[in-house]
Every structure is written in C-alpha cells, then in structure tokens.
Amino acid sequence: MTINNEQLTINNSGDASLSVSFCGLVFKNPVVAASGTFGFGREYGEYYDLSELGGISVKGLTLLPRNGNPSPRVAETPSGMLNAVGLQNPGVDAFIADELPTLRRYDTRIIANISGNTAEEYGIMAAKLSDAAVDLIEVNVSCPNVKAGGMQFGTSPALVAEVTREVRRNARVPVMVKLSPNVSDIAEIAVAAVDAGADALSLINTLLGMRIDIKTRRPILANVTGGLSGAAILPVAVRCVYQVARAVNVPILGMGGVCDGDDAVELMLAGASLVGVGTASFTDPFAPIKVRDGIEKYLNGNGFTLPSDITGKLDA
C-alpha cells in the first residue's frame, strides 16, 4: 500500500493531524459523505458547515436527467434499510451548472459519482466533469449495461475494465472505481479496475436485498428489490476492504454501515484510507462529524498521529 505523506499540509479550517493524502489529493479528514445519501449537500448543509467534512460524494449522476423508480423506494430492515431510488438526478450538465458552484463554496473535496448505460456515456461524463474541475470522479459500476443486455457492469472484470479505461482516457482528474459487493470475487474485479487505470477504489456499494409485506403479500419496494445499506452491512464491508486491500496497490475509500468512529477504524485497519458515511446520516444528521471525531479520539487514545498510521495496520 502506498501512502504519500509528503503532501500533507494544514488547510484553513482542518486539523492537520487528521488529513489524508489520497491519490495526490489532500483530504482534511478521512470522512466522506457517501453518494446518494447526501444529495448535493444542500440539505445537510443546513445542519452543519460542510467544510467540516473531508469530502462529499454527490448523488449519482447520469448523462441525461433521470426520474428514478416509483415509490415506495425505501424500506427499513434490521439495522439497515433497502433503497431503490433508481438514480434520480438532474443530469450531469445541470449538476455542473446548478449544484457544483454552491458546493465549491465549501472547503471540502467534491467527488462526482457517475453512472452510465454504456462505456461511452461514462467517458463523456468524465470529460465534462474534468472540465468542471471536480476533485475526483467516482465510477459507479453497479448499474445495468444496456449493450450487454442489462447485465451489471460491476459483476464482470472485463466490463469493469472497459468502463475504467474509457473514464481514464477522458478524465483529467483522479478516477476512483466504486465496487459492488454482489460478486463472487471482489478482489478479481478490483484488480481488473486497477489494471485498467483506476487511481483509487471505493467500496462497498449496497448489497441486493428484498422485503415483503406479509399483510398484503407484496414486495415493500415498488422496484421489488433494492440495495441494502446501514449497520447490517459493516462486516461485509470490512471483509471486502480487507480482500481488496491485499490484492491492489491503490488507496481505498471504504464504506458500508459506518455509524461511529470505531466502525470507521475497523475499515481503516482493514485497508481503507478514507471512510464513507451514508445511511447513518438518516438516523443522525451529525453522524459524519461524530465519525470524524471518533476516529480522532481513537488515534489520540492509541498513540497514533495520522489516520494513515492505521490504514491496513491489521495484525493478522
């Protein structure tokens, strides 16, 4: 694992001791709001200063606007939830025109999360977002490939490689590929992404799930199935980060079920440099800030100076 500590600098409001270097970018702390759980920052920005976050991964963008799935789109599960929002978003151009300027007012890293129907669509978005100077592009490969009969890009090493190459060819900012856990060998997919040029990896996206209302004998979600997130998936995320960190040599944004600093530390020990917080914000809007403070407490309490001191420091 290569961690570059040279570029660590103190930024305006951040605490130097929490900063992380991630494929050449300095994050003021390791906590990133997870894509799709934070909109474009406007709503949670009413609760706290978004500059408190290391980064924000915005709602998944597509080339054209999308209406998403019918409701119900969410269902609660034990220690988690299912969602089938269906990538509702205003499209990449509207994001750049209407949302990015507002987000840019905050001193935090902006990560553009993108989804496409074809590899070419991913490439076009990567070019537009590079022109708009987002900090990092996060490639969501958990969406159906229209040309491959709807098979998810993220389940095939060849398709992940194809998308990654196309994005890498068009992007002038670092490219991070977001892996799906719904595969039999996540390390194999990770290697395919890195060999195709991924500068970083993020994981995990949601696990495919389903719930049924036994009174009506119907699925709760209009889409029938949806993605499982929240505390319930933490052990799956830890395992995936562990397996991927051992297989590749790029930094990892780990996420899945993080609710507090201790959960984040688990993912970091397994190999994550940054940690995403998603569903936990729904329970507590301040969850990302509390996770950040919890990481700091763990570092201070255990004789570490930097978050990178614990990345991959698993005693196994």
Binding site: T37, P70, A75, E76, M81, V85
Partner: protein, 260 residues
C-alpha cells in the same frame, strides 16, 4: 439553523382510544412548527436496529414564551402500526425523544376567507393544528370507518364553526365517505381553500370535487421516508412539476399539482 434535539422532554401522554396515542413534548432546539409540517422521530432509544426515523404530523403547537422560560411544545397524535409506533406509545411523562423538525412544506393558509378541513382517519391530526392556528375560520368534515374510530371530534367542535362527521357504516353521523358532505359544503358556502389529509383515495375524490367547484385545494401526502430532509430522494411522488420529495417539497401539495 435546522431543528434537531435528542432531548425533547415529554410533558403529557394519553391514549385517546384503543391504539391511538397523543404525546406532547417540549420542542426546545426545534424549529417552530407550521400547520401541515411533520417531525421525524427516532423510535427505539438506544436500540440501534431501527435505523429510520418515523414521520409523524404536528397535531398541535404551542410557541411557549422564551422571555419567561416557558418552552415551546409539539403535540403528535399517532396510531400504533408497528414496532416504532409501539415503542412511541410506551413513552411517558419525563421520557425524552430524539426529534428532527419541524420539517417539510405545510399548508399555505389564505389571508382571509373560510377554510374547509377534510380529514380521514388519522389524517384528522394535522388538521387540528390548522384549526387551532386559525380560530373560527375553519369548518371540518371528518370521516372514519365506524363510530368507535372517531378521533379528536371534541377538539374540532371547540375549534371550528361547524363539524360534520361521516362514518362508512353510518354508525355515527352521515353514512358513507366525506365526498357528499364536502360537495354540499362547497356548494352552500364560500371557501377560500380546502385542506385535506387522509387516505389517498379520499384525497383524490376531495381534490376532484374541489377542482370541479373551483375551490383551491391542498392535500397532505404520505410516503415512506428515510432522511426526512430531502437528501436521499427516498420519498418521491410524481407531480405535474416533475418528481418531488414528500418530505421537503411536501407533505402538503397543491392538489392540482399531484398526478392522481
């Protein structure tokens, strides 16, 4: 800033009828509630298995008196439907609640003229606050399945000029749905607005009658929610102005905007 408190002290709790409860809690740290808004309540205390908050309408609000240290209060009225509301029903005076709110876009009250409140079942709850905030401007038509399920009728009697109750089985008041009493009221008197809350089929029929008789109508919609603040797009509803969020753009929408 936006309202959030993990420490809202309950000052009053009551079982209104079998399975329906009222709770009043101090709303210190929350934003002042407008009629039609809701609060997002964490149910389960330290139990972390229930990750989603429960949206419950504000059924009444008291501003308090900051100068004299009298805290504001919010009242909610809810039915036990599952685990979350069961937990809530077991809360008592001096227990505390973790509350986000008040949230959402409420009823837009016209500056003058009469308001017709149309409620079905638990949908009467948010209308009570409208009635309380607009004394002597409201008439109410309240629908329930049977006489045993009638809720808050005494409060509406006190706050409204006239109250009509309809029961599906005719066991109390008018027999049938609220549709005919609504039509009769709108035909016999001038109204500046109809505010409706209840099951979707009731809202649809009230919206149709109001449209036909040219009275502006606002409806309060329900959808399953996650964040409750507009960030997750979990609570989408289709409208003539595109996909909108029940938690942020609603729960109250202009009835003409809704795709029924």
């Amino acid at each position: 800033m936006t309202g959030f408190s993990t420490d809202c002290r309950i000052v009053y709790s009551e079982e209104l009828r079998d399975g329906v409860h009222a709770l009043t809690f101090e709303a210190v740290g929350l934003t002042p509630a407008q009629p039609g808004q809701f609060v997002h309540i964490k149910c389960g205390g330290g139990d972390t298995t229930r990750v989603l908050r429960r949206p419950i309408s504000v059924a009444d609000y008291f501003e308090g008196d900051a100068a004299n240290n009298v805290p504001p209060e919010i009242t909610v009225v809810f039915e036990v439907r599952g685990d979350g509301t069961q937990w809530l029903a077991e809360r008592r005076e001096d227990n505390t609640l973790d509350v986000l709110g008040a949230l959402g876009h409420g009823f837009e009250v016209p500056t003058d003229g009469q308001i017709l409140l149309v409620g079905g079942g638990l949908g009467v709850a948010p209308l009570m606050y409208v009635a309380n905030a607009n004394p002597l401007r409201c008439n109410a038509i309240l629908g329930f399945r049977t006489a045993e399920l009638i809720l808050l009728s005494g409060e509406f009697d006190r706050l409204c000029r006239r109250v009509v109750i309809a029961t599906d089985d005719g066991s109390y008041g008018e027999r049938g749905t609220v549709a005919e009493p609504v039509r009769a009221a709108l035909k016999s008197e001038q109204y500046a607005a109809v505010f409706a809350c209840g099951p979707r089929p009731m809202l649809r029929s009230v919206a149709a009658i109001a449209a036909e008789l040219n009275v502006p109508c606002q409806v309060s919609l329900e959808e399953r929610m996650a964040c409750g603040v507009g960030a997750c797009l979990g609570c989408a509803v289709e409208t003539k102005n595109g996909i909108r969020r029940v938690c942020r753009d609603g729960p109250v929408f202009d009835a003409q905007e809704v795709v029924w």
